[in-house]
Amino acid sequence: MNLETEFLGVKFSNPLVVASGILGVTGASLKFVVANGAGGVTSKSIWLKEHKGHKNPVMIANEHYMLNAVGLPDAGIEKAQLEMGKYMENKPAPMIASITAGTIDDFGEIAERISELNPDIIEVNSSCPNVESELGKPFACVAGDVAKVTKIVRARTKIPITVKLSPNVENLVEIAKAVVDAGADGLTLINTVGPGMAIDLDMRRPILANKVGGVSGPAIKPIAVKCVYDVHRALPNIPIIGTGGITTGEDALEIIMAGATLVGVGTAVYYRDVECFRLIAEEMSRWCDANGVKNLAEIRGVAVVR
């Protein structure tokens, strides 16, 4: 089956995009992901100025989940312009540039600067649980704040915007509506869950240097599906990048049936290595062929009971 998907006017050869923060440090790395079957890429979250991440260990994983507290390390926009520039020349698939900041003004500034590079889409990451202590509550957890962030980004760029939301809120749909009212073209659901913690019994200490880390991988798929379902039900015309625990073609189809247009794939790289993109795409095609589905639009949001 043809998996071609249009999202905010941009054509993707398949709906699988690597999620922000996974294999996204360099332009070359993102090209490597496309060579392994991704239909598009998301850069790691880019800051205006250099930003130190957390010390190692920043990631632990088992058969159920990954915990990460990378802490959004970044060398700042100048360096990002170099890296992304390398991706943008002979761009093999659309680029979603993820941006983040510690203040609302900085969000505006970084949005404008990143736009000079002409990414296809800008993803506003206001929801990373690992930078909470610096920023207070993540912006994404307060409807008013994330709307303000969206508004300023909207004002400073002409490029389509998707806003990435946290599932760790009590009123996701309300926040989604506020963000769309503030000018978001699409939404990315979800960032990591929790955060969580793992303690090493022998060391008697939390393992992550940051103690806690966002939960991703198979464990969070039901939460991601539920978030996409709820938001798609409330805002059927807003396209969604459904992200969270997608590891197989069946998982990808499930989140599409909940309402996603693109599908973000992150931690699956741990479970199936970088070839997961090709494998997931193949599994999707196979299921669709076996079930008489001719294009993904046919099944998008089909599970939503109104």
């Binding site: 923060g21 996974i22 294999l23 996204g24 440090v25 360099t26 070359a28 790395s29 993102l30 090209k31 490597f32 992901v33 060579a35 790691k44 250099e50 930003h51 130190k52 991440g53 010390k55 190692n56 260990p57 920043v58 990631m59 632990i60 994983a61 088992n62 058969e63 990954m66 990378v70 390390p73 970044d74 060398a75 360096k79 170099l82 890296e83 390398k86 793992a198 090493d200 019994l201 022998d202 060391m203 200490r205 393992i207 240097a209 590891t247 197989t248 931690t267 790289v269 741990y270 479970y271 199936r272 290595d273 970088v274």
Partner: protein
Amino acid sequence: MRDLSSLPKAFPKALPIKKIIQETDNVKTFVFEYDLGAEPGQFVNMWLPGVDEKPMSVAYCDENEFWVSIFAVGPFSSAMHELKEGDKVGVRGPYGRGFTWKKGEHLVMMAGGYGAAPLYYLTRKAVEDGCTVEFVIGARSKSHVLYTERIEALKNVFLHVATSDGSLGVKGYNTLILEQLIKDAGRGKSFREHCGDDTCEREEVDFASLNRVYACGPELMMKSVAEMCLAGGIESEVSVERYMKCGFGVCGQCSVDGSGKRMCSEGPCMSGADALKIEEFGKYHRDAQGKVHEF
């Protein structure tokens, strides 16, 4: 889905240090009683709670124990040097692609810094497979030369040393010795004459050919080795170390420019020819924030 049992081990296991061996002023070897199952050239992530977690090459490994040799250069490696036997270290791995060799080959190991440690493990395995090994160590001075006794104790292994100050073996880079080895391969020669190293106890060189050269150490040395081998038509393998976070292919921290390959997964070991195709090989590397630094 990957078979769950083949998932990279991504939770550390706390292991008590069984033994600590002072190798040089700056290098200690740590022995752990644990069946790690690592191949030569693979590495582990070692975790000290409250300090950091860093990749370390496996210097030896069998069903009972494994070793790592650590050069004290900064916060983590110095903290390791302060540990006592019995103290626990978190270990996860093994990670990465190791070195490859064939039975009965004639190999050269080009070691710089702590590179002698992983190449020692490779040598032991290769010798078990009937290989003959020229083990060439390069160091600043005599007091920085590692692992010589262990190497000399191995059969069919011949040690060569070069030091920058000439305090042991040939004076200069160890690539001088490799140059000579390549040149002389196949021609009978007195060894001392061949390598110019007084400490050398071997009477004659008469190798049919050199099959493969391995390099582990400073990247500029490895680059020279890879280039020399390419020019000389000899296979080579190098270990390309980059700043690593996860160690199992997810974060992208260790991706190199050009192919975008991950040094923790498609590397660290690869052919010299592949390494030379890496844009940044021998030129620059990235730090924890992804910022570029020249070598």
